[in-house]
Symmetry: D2
Subunit: 275 residues, 4 copies
């Protein structure tokens, strides 16, 4: 976290002036998740509020037209582009664990990185980081073989890419050991279990939708490195980025609430990687 910002007119960053001036935070969300006739998420509404966009890569969501649109939107809004790589499972939206052999996953990730990077460059931007999606995100918290495959693909594709993931995950440890930059994130709109993992999506209260609550949680996270778990346990969480889910109902209102609360407190919203 740094004390100065050089936000251009097309934004992606805002400086604050309160007591926390000098603190900065990244706000990331999943975009580009439509597929053909099926639309998902309000990318146009969300993009101006983000600093980093996790763009799908076509394996769990995102046809090429949607992905190109998302890349263009990110460039126009000065938002940093990340590749949200996932399992090859459209009907499951990448939310089901697949026991992919590491060598296959390595090639799958490379394929997705190249595809998105090409679209990003054609849109006038560059891919800056990688974040696994859905069940792959959860798997690489502990699955060494798959985490290693993702990390090797990122390093072999472009070792300047950052890896965004869960604090304490095998993924981030492996990426760090491989010399990659790692960025840890917390979830603004998801309830936590007492052990610091996310409450499963199908549990009651797992997805938070009240802008006030979400805004307060994020502020507490940034200022006190503290999150309250669903059972009341206080968790110590250090995160360089906060994630909002683009397909959560009212995602745009949540993002705006988070943004307003943070800037009102003097915290700068800024991408961890230059767009």
């Amino acid at each position: 976290m740094t004390s100065t910002t050089q936000a251009g007119p097309e934004g992606g960053s805002e400086s604050g002036s309160g007591p926390l001036a000098g603190t900065s935070l990244d706000l990331n969300a999943d975009v580009g998740e439509s597929f053909g006739r099926w639309r998902l998420g309000d990318d146009a509404g969300l993009m101006p509020l983000l600093t980093s966009a996790n763009i799908a890569c076509g394996f769990h969501a995102g046809d090429p037209v949607s992905l190109l649109d998302a890349c263009r939107g990110a460039v126009q809004n000065g938002v940093s582009i990340g590749a949200q790589v996932g399992y090859h499972d459209l009907v499951g939206f990448g939310r089901r664990f697949i026991d992919v052999a590491p060598e296959d996953l390595y090639a799958d990730v490379l394929y997705q990185l190249g595809a998105l990077d090409g679209l990003a460059r054609t849109a006038g931007g560059r891919m800056r980081y990688v974040k696994p999606h859905g069940a792959l995100y959860n798997a690489v918290v502990h699955h060494h073989g798959q985490a290693d495959a993702v990390v090797r693909a990122v390093r072999d594709y472009d070792p300047t890419l950052a890896v965004l993931g869960l604090p304490g995950s095998v993924l981030l440890a492996t990426a760090s050991a491989a010399g990659l930059r790692t960025v840890s994130e917390a979830f603004a709109d998801r309830a936590y279990a007492a052990d610091g993992t996310l409450l499963a999506r199908d549990r009651p209260g797992a997805v938070l939708t009240d802008p006030e609550t979400v805004g307060t949680r994020v502020l507490q996270l940034v200022t006190e490195q503290r999150l309250v778990a669903a059972d009341g346990t206080e968790l110590h969480v250090v995160a360089d980025s906060v994630c909002l889910h683009g397909d959560t109902p009212g995602a745009v209102a949540l993002a705006r609430s988070v943004r307003d609360r943070l800037t009102a407190s003097g915290i700068t919203l800024r991408a961890f990687a230059t767009p």
Copy 2:
């Protein structure tokens, strides 16, 4: 066509010494067309005999592992890597016309180019040219909207890429007008109709499998710019490259026969684009 060659020990090029010494020709074939459990073509056997490899990009054939293997094989053999972009139609192997809107096709081609280029670079090579596959290849002979979409995608992705296609096609005319390098090809193992197009695959005699016949045709093509159509008509064909189909029975034997006949006549086999 040039008069000198700098073939390294790993090949992809051979100089000849006969009366045609100084003439060179590119030999291209489709590779990387396996998909998961399903194997197709003898890439390992074919690659050392080619100068250019049209590698599938995952839309009509080619899973990421097969594509990465093909890229590695091309690099090892000093073969030039081309992207064989196709319709998104695995079950049809890209051999059925799809009335894709140009804006969708533009994004589809960009996606495929980026994906293959990423794999090629990871394998230590670079994508050097683009060749449409199957029904897309046939469509862009005359379909302005789809030809224009392919050309714009190639130009926006990397204007140094060459475009390989049928002499006289709308594709090559459009690519040339867009400032792209164009390369025309003839088919070694396919019978021609009297109008210079290929005989449909399901017609008797459409696919040639005798190495002797194929070798002779190619030699005649290079030395006399002449091909005899299925009905006996003599066609004037100027081609910088000759295509062999990797999934034709006996493709390796055909490639060897073509290679032997050409080098015996002093013709150099050399990629049109530096690998």
Copy 3:
């Protein structure tokens, strides 16, 4: 069209009492078009207003869970189940012509019919009719090879199935010649060209969304066999069924408006095939 109705309590049919009492009409719409995480259309809202449900079969839309839900909804609402067979093209939503060989299309249609029929029977219903979707619907208006493939598949699967299509289409002529029952339809929410075909979707005014306008058009169609084309031409259209698009904005309001206008005029809404 018949003069009596025996609507049971679970509906799908309502008798009227106005001057047109005794006239009946079928109201069909596309349902089951969601896919995994992606939802499309308001099946739950629409189903009680329909008499026939064109349920997707998984090739252009519809994962098995969505299809089973749609079958259950149809059974619960006493709505007749039809198979909406399409091209195998999820990303294109079946709206792009594919030049499928008739023998392949024959097997594709059989596969879809069996899949949907199994789900329908498990839900306690039966598949009663077949309606091609999207680009296949448009193709079989004139494409003899594809129309013939669809008809042969329907006949070989179950010759008691009805075929729903455009009046005057090759599909209905072929189906009739094969001894199948044919049902012709008009479109409530689409503008017509002067030649009786639909205005292309991307043309301004092609999709009608005003409930009042749509209701009036349908009433005029039923009572006068008349539709006014986009250019003002009066068309004579005889239809046993009227189609509403489930993914048209406000589809439920449109369906309700059509239903209200018809029943207020004494016209009975009734499925052409017993649910």
Copy 4:
């Protein structure tokens, strides 16, 4: 196992006359595993040697044309048709575990059963049994949720269908408890671990390809209910059916060897379910 045979003229059964006359065995193999341009297995060569054909259903392998061909081949050879249901994973050939929710798997299995049954009936046959494929086969040995989903789908689709699986598996226990007929099988061409499960495919010696060895193993299995594991352990295995893999190199020769050894010993090859 029964003591008499009534092989009809349409075959699929042969009576023997040796000391084991009266003993019968089913011989099953996977067929219909081609996909579009990609061919796999020698269905035409294998079918006359089988008594039961596990036909893919399109989710892990098998396009509709290949499946229809396999159904026709089974009918022509008097072979019993079974549905080989699998995970929806073409690129993985259904050989990777997918953590599908039971309600999704239930619908997936129903969809596959209906699709194959429709093709089978159009070909003049009927689907008689269900066998999970690949990673699903392995999962339902122990995974209660997925086993239960498969069994409920089979029972709801057609409770006269038999379920073919591994002796001692959760699948067979669940199927039996649901009132379904169960059939247990042993593997002719795969090595066993000491605990009675199959040695993983990627282990050396896991796949047996010598016709003599395989023939001997099967004979020992039938006559002594005994199989020798890879480490020499003697296993007691009771099986009503023996499985050969259609994509094992030399599958046809293996099938012929097994057939010859069994019939020479007086054992009748007969489908467990009437074709």
